[in-house]
């Protein structure tokens, strides 16, 4: 009974954190873009517009629920769930602090990688189910992109697992007690490969072809209005958080740090990587579809494999 109560408390804490953090990330994105573009961003609702996302979500809740004719009922209605639920499930294994983890599975990183791959199903269902050529094009592009970039992502994670010998998240953090993994040469290259693949995984610029606004309207989520669109929108930012926290845990030492409490260190590192991703977003143009696939298969994957070969040989020696 006490177990159930503790589980319920942990679950609601995590869900509450996810909701607040997704809203906060939307505000952060708008402010970072405003700061880069010499303007001010949201200023009116709350201090410097911090409650702007709350206002936006309330507006989206009150919008009319339009179902276009000819949609594939099952695919279209279920797509938002397939996009929102996997990142939330991945929060099971993210180590926020020494004891602040919901369940330290001993296959933690494998669990996270496999669960986040389910998102591509949701995107493709959204693209196919809407009776719309633009959405179909967006959905197909996205499926190709995410599947291609899974390979370098997993190869760079494999290198970390080779160094630590364990798949559990707390174990990986503990193995960095003597030095963060980013300071080792082979792992620094793996960090770069991971960051590039992660940007492609969450459909952010420079790899945001699926929702290329200036080409196709809005891509795979064109036909969604109201709360369903809000689910897509917030799930993208939750995905960004997951990917950044995996990067922080695997390469930057997780929650370890000298003076401040572990939770603060963890959040600092995660938001540092998120700020870097946003900075990249507002600077670079978009990569074309065939160039992106060529980059993934002809360059990143051989590079990651070469990295594993050389670092593995150095480990075994």
């Amino acid at each position: 009974m006490a177990d159930l109560g503790a589980l319920f408390l942990q679950g609601s804490a995590v869900l509450g954190f996810i909701a607040v953090s997704a809203m906060y990330l939307v505000w952060l994105e708008r402010k970072v873009s405003a700061v880069i573009q010499n303007r001010m961003g949201p200023m009116i609702v709350g201090w410097h517009g911090s409650l702007q996302t709350v206002a936006d979500v309330v507006k989206l809740l009150l919008k009319e629920n339009i179902v276009p004719t000819g949609v594939d009922k099952l695919a279209w209605w279920l797509a938002p769930f397939f996009v929102m639920v996997p990142p939330v499930m991945a929060f099971l294994c993210i180590p926020f602090g020494q004891k602040l983890i919901v369940n330290d599975l001993n296959v933690g990183i494998l669990y996270i990688a496999s669960v986040t791959s389910v998102c591509v199903l949701g995107i493709f269902m959204a693209g196919w189910g809407s009776n719309n050529k633009y959405s179909l094009l967006g959905g197909m592009r996205s499926a190709a992109q995410i599947i291609s970039y899974e390979v370098p992502l997993l190869l760079s994670i494999t290198l970390v697992v080779m160094h630590t010998g364990t798949l559990s998240m707390q174990g990986i953090v503990a193995a960095q007690a003597h030095g963060w993994f980013i300071l080792k040469p082979g792992l620094a290259l793996a960090f770069l490969v991971y960051l590039i693949s992660a940007t492609a995984e969450v459909n952010r610029v420079p790899f945001d072809i699926p929702e290329a606004e200036s080409e196709l309207g809005a891509g795979y989520h064109t036909e969604y209005t109201g709360m369903k669109f809000a689910i897509f929108f917030l799930s993208e930012y939750t995905n960004v958080f997951i990917v950044s926290s995996v990067a922080a845990t695997l390469f930057l030492g997780g929650w370890q740090g000298p003076f401040l409490p572990p939770l603060v260190w963890f959040l600092l590192k995660v938001y540092g990587i998120i700020f870097f991703l946003m900075w990249v977003r507002w600077t670079l143009p978009r990569v074309r579809m065939d160039q992106m696939m060529a980059f993934a298969w002809k360059f990143l994957t051989p590079l990651a494999l070469l990295n594993i070969l050389v670092s593995g040989w150095a480990l075994v020696k």
Binding site: I36, N38, R39, M40, W279, T283, L284, F299
Partner: protein, 159 residues
Amino acid sequence: MFQKIKFFYLSIISILIGMRVTLKNMFVPRITLNYPIKKQSMKKKHRGMVDLIPPDCVICYQCIKICPVAALDLAHKQEVAADGKKVKEITKFTFNGELCCFCGLCEEICPTDAIYLSQMYEVSVFSHEDVLNIDLMDPKKYAHIDSAYSTPEKKPNKN
């Protein structure tokens, strides 16, 4: 393969150079204002809505003739006063805010600077009729529009 790695390295350097530009711009002061809390003041010659000083008008009809879109409409009546002089008086002088293209030709050609373009640019009204037939003789014609320039001063002589 070596060529590709060199190309990759150069690409990363070029991307980082570009990101340095955006980083520098993060610390430049903001160039936008928080409208409507703060507003920019308009230049003296700015061409906004048309306004009239009725006593100065000599009813020469030059502005009506030159308006390219026929937005102005004027009618007058002529009377003979007690001492035998002919006196002209404006009966109707309306301005169609929807047709006006804010070119400033009427202001330029008026010989007495009676008609001029004020600096009022915030012309949002709730119904279409409020801008269709604006009576230029009415001193309170723009009082219902919430703008800093709705009671404008006379602009200086042209040039």
